[in-house]
């Protein structure tokens, strides 16, 4: 594989950039693989990469109905963080932060990781107490957390509404300075390019039609491009999880919902942090192009539409304007939607299933993008070793049955339904 560097850039510039290698091949599916990963999104591509890199399993296929990186890895708001209170979430995410910090070097692909920090705003004394508790939990797990008072927040984000008599005054906030953003497409492409180089077949335009299961074991998968045998199959399909689960006669603690995001027209640099509103559900950052990148609540009813409805967008942006009034002057450039695999306790599932050789990776709710490397790493371990790693032990499928829920917000079932 051609290494990407300033020298290769100069060399290829001399030949008008006409001689670059293809970043990944377009292979015809073989009849059999050691492992088949269904879903060519960030998590699926990362899983294949870590199967090859960490476990020397290279006879692997990724099968993707559309094109790689066309789902949620290309539709998110690119936020990367590990500001969780519960140990399971905190340790998993912080493990991921380490992978993020090394990712551009590791993949020889600039994912533009920008650890600019995230601030969760607090709008009451009670919320400050909650953030102090969460911040302390984070620090006990080795994650950086800083509790900011109102004046300190004002120093950092003076464009937020600090005027008197507002409905949700800013009392302070919890900051994770090491959190940030990355270029989401580059993450998918970087993993794809390296996985392909190590022998993984990336098979696009290949839809799963059914599964070959006998005597409680998985034997293969039926696709629109023929049957493929495999003793191990990993499902990594986010919002399409329920569709594939039905083909396996499984009913999962997952509902598929639509989440929207939007960007404004580009403006000069104004915001160098990720900021979340504490009195509702709204988050914002500024892209390198200058667009304000914003998102918030789900549309609120089961949806596979991959595009959103205006009432939710209006609701979300009303919160945004309450937090940062200058946003009302900006024009909207683009809005879009992605379908989320919302788990019933708001935490993901990375586990084996009752079918031998079938592994499940789903339930990422709002936080799938930042989990990409840690999810791929632990899912690869789970598949290769046929047992969960301690980092994803808490993300079991049967926790809903046993009552060991991972309810980060302490709000009970379906925390995401308003």
């Amino acid at each position: 594989m051609q290494k990407y560097s300033v020298f290769s850039l100069v060399k290829n510039a001399l030949s008008n950039h006409e001689n670059w290698d293809l970043a990944w091949k377009d292979p015809t599916p073989k009849n059999e693989y050691d492992v088949v990963i269904i879903g060519g999104g960030g998590h699926g591509l990362a899983t294949a990469y870590y199967l090859a890199k960490e476990h020397n399993i290279t006879n692997v296929a990724i099968i993707e109905k559309g094109w790689i990186g066309g789902g949620n890895v290309g539709r998110n708001t690119t936020i990367i963080r590990s500001n969780y209170m519960h140990d399971e979430n905190a340790l998993f995410s912080e493990f991921g932060m380490d992978l993020w910090r090394r990712m551009s070097q590791d993949l020889n692909y600039n994912v533009m990781f920008s650890p600019r920090g995230i601030i969760n705003l607090a709008h009451s004394d009670a919320q400050m107490n909650t953030y102090a508790r969460r911040g302390n939990s984070m620090r006990l797990n080795g994650i950086d957390a800083v509790l900011l008072n109102r004046e300190e927040v004002k120093e950092i984000i003076p464009m937020a509404d600090f005027s008197q008599n507002v409905r949700f005054p800013i009392f302070g906030g919890l900051m994770q300075p090491s959190a940030g953003t990355a270029r989401h497409d580059a993450v998918a492409w970087g993993y794809a390019r390296q996985a392909d180089d190590m022998g993984v077949d990336i098979i696009q335009n290949c839809e799963v039609i059914g599964f070959d299961v006998s005597a409680g074991k998985i034997n293969g998968v039926r696709t629109s491009r023929g049957d493929i045998k495999a003793k191990k199959i990993g499902l990594c399909v986010a919002g399409s999880t329920n569709i594939l689960a039905e083909k396996l006669n499984m009913t999962l603690p997952i509902e598929t919902h639509l989440l929207q995001a939007c960007v404004s027209e580009p403006v000069k640099p104004v915001l160098d942090k990720v900021v979340t509103f504490g009195a509702g559900h709204f988050y914002i950052s500024q892209s390198d192009k200058g667009e304000m990148v914003m998102g918030g609540d789900l549309d609120g009813y089961n949806s596979y539409a991959q595009r959103g409805n205006l009432p939710t967008l209006q609701h979300v942006l009303t919160e945004g304007i309450a937090m940062m009034p200058f946003l009302s002057k900006l024009k909207m450039l683009r809005t879009w939607g992605g379908i989320m695999d919302m788990s019933m306790d708001g935490s993901p599932i990375i586990d084996k299933t009752h079918i031998e050789g079938l592994y499940l990776n789903c339930g990422w709710c709002y936080g799938g993008f930042k989990a990409t490397p840690a999810s791929g790493w632990t899912f690869a371990h789970t598949i290769a070793q046929d047992r969960v790693h301690e980092l994803n032990a808490g993300y079991s499928l049967n926790r809903f049955n046993t009552g060991h829920l991972l309810d980060e917000k302490g709000l009970g079932t379906k925390t995401w339904i308003s």
């Binding site: 329920n242 569709i243 039905e246 009913t251 999962l252 603690p253 997952i254 509902e255 598929t256 609120g300 009813y301 089961n302 949806s303 596979y304 539409a305 409805n309 205006l310 009432p311 019933m344 809903f400 049955n401 079932t413 379906k414 339904i417």
Partner: protein, 89 residues
């Protein structure tokens, strides 16, 4: 914007309603002995399929009645609405 025909009030905008999830899920009978598995299915497990979906909505800013709506989860087309006590046929 969805437009939902409330069986009590007629066609209204989505803004007047709140969502209540899958309408086919039945709470296990009170006082009956049930397995953890059945309870798990009732509380957590959902089919959540692409296509026609019977779901509950409440006409929160209208008559406040719960209603049943059959909607396509991919196109948002609404086929039928029923009162809460009417059976899905």
């Amino acid at each position: 914007m969805l437009h939902i025909k409330c069986p009590h009030c007629g066609m209204r905008s989505q803004n007047e309603f709140s969502y209540g999830g899958d309408a086919t899920v039945k709470r296990p009978e009170l006082g009956e002995e049930i397995s953890d598995h059945d309870w798990d299915n009732f509380v957590y497990n959902r089919k959540s399929l692409r296509g026609k979906h019977w779901e509950l909505w409440q006409h929160l800013s209208g008559c406040r009645q719960w209603i049943k709506v059959q909607r396509d989860t991919a196109t948002h087309e609404i086929f039928k609405t029923l009162k809460a006590n009417e059976d899905i046929s």
